[in-house]
């Protein structure tokens, strides 16, 4: 079974990559979500992530179990950051490895789509003028 982590510490890509890989695997894929300097046309200086941490871990484990049906390996590791992030900080990292590349791409993408669709995390964007507001999100109950 792959592993999931919710952390207030900076995410380091090398650490995440180090959690997957195996002599049987020919493909490794690392996705990093990064705080960018704009959203819907407005400049952004940072994002504060709030999470329902216990459920984030539980939901990530469910998503990972589903992704392993695609991946055919258990070599998958997901980390989501919480707290105050600046532009350029990594908010989420998904690493997978598998014998062939097709399943690596598909499993990585699946995890990211499900994270966006149903992980109980919220973000408040900060703007250069000092204003901040919650980013409008996705209603997770709609099809669950």
């Amino acid at each position: 079974m792959g592993t999931a982590l919710v952390t207030g510490d900076p995410i380091r890509s090398g650490d995440v990559l180090g959690r997957v890989g195996d002599d049987r695997d020919g493909a490794v894929l690392l996705f990093l979500g990064v705080v960018r300097d704009h959203h819907e046309g407005r400049p952004v200086t940072g994002i504060t992530y709030e999470a329902y941490e216990g459920m984030v871990r539980a939901e990530l484990e469910r998503i990972i179990a589903e992704a392993e049906e695609i991946l055919t390996t258990d070599r998958i590791h997901v980390v989501h950051r919480v707290g105050d992030l600046e532009v350029g900080d990594i908010s989420v990292a998904v690493a997978v490895s598998s014998p062939h590349r097709d399943e690596a791409y598909r499993a990585s993408r699946y995890v990211m789509e499900e994270i966006k669709r149903r992980l109980p995390i919220w973000k408040k964007e900060r703007h250069p003028d000092g204003a901040s507001e919650w980013v409008s999100g996705v209603v997770p109950g709609a099809d669950l």
Partner: protein
């Protein structure tokens, strides 16, 4: 029975609290809990239609039954990643 309800993000800010203990009759459902919460915290009513509910850290239907000691969470639209 008593259930603990967690509030997050805009719901937490709008209500000024991150959790609420709610007393419910035996046999109550998620729907009954939401009705009780809306009478306790009127500002919840406006956002309730777009709010998902989790019971014991898994998404639940409005018709799901509740039990004493359940951890319920109101989940406003999510924006992870």
């Amino acid at each position: 029975m008593q259930v603990r309800t967690l509030l997050f993000a805009q719901l937490r800010e709008a209500s000024g609290r991150s959790s609420v203990e709610v007393q419910l009759a035996e046999g109550s459902t998620v729907e009954d809990l939401l009705a009780s919460l809306e009478s306790m915290i009127p500002s919840l009513a406006a956002v309730a239609p777009a709010t998902a509910v989790a019971v014991n850290q898994a998404y639940a239907e409005r018709t799901s039954p509740l039990a004493d000691g359940d951890e319920v969470a109101l989940i406003p639209p999510v924006a992870g990643g």
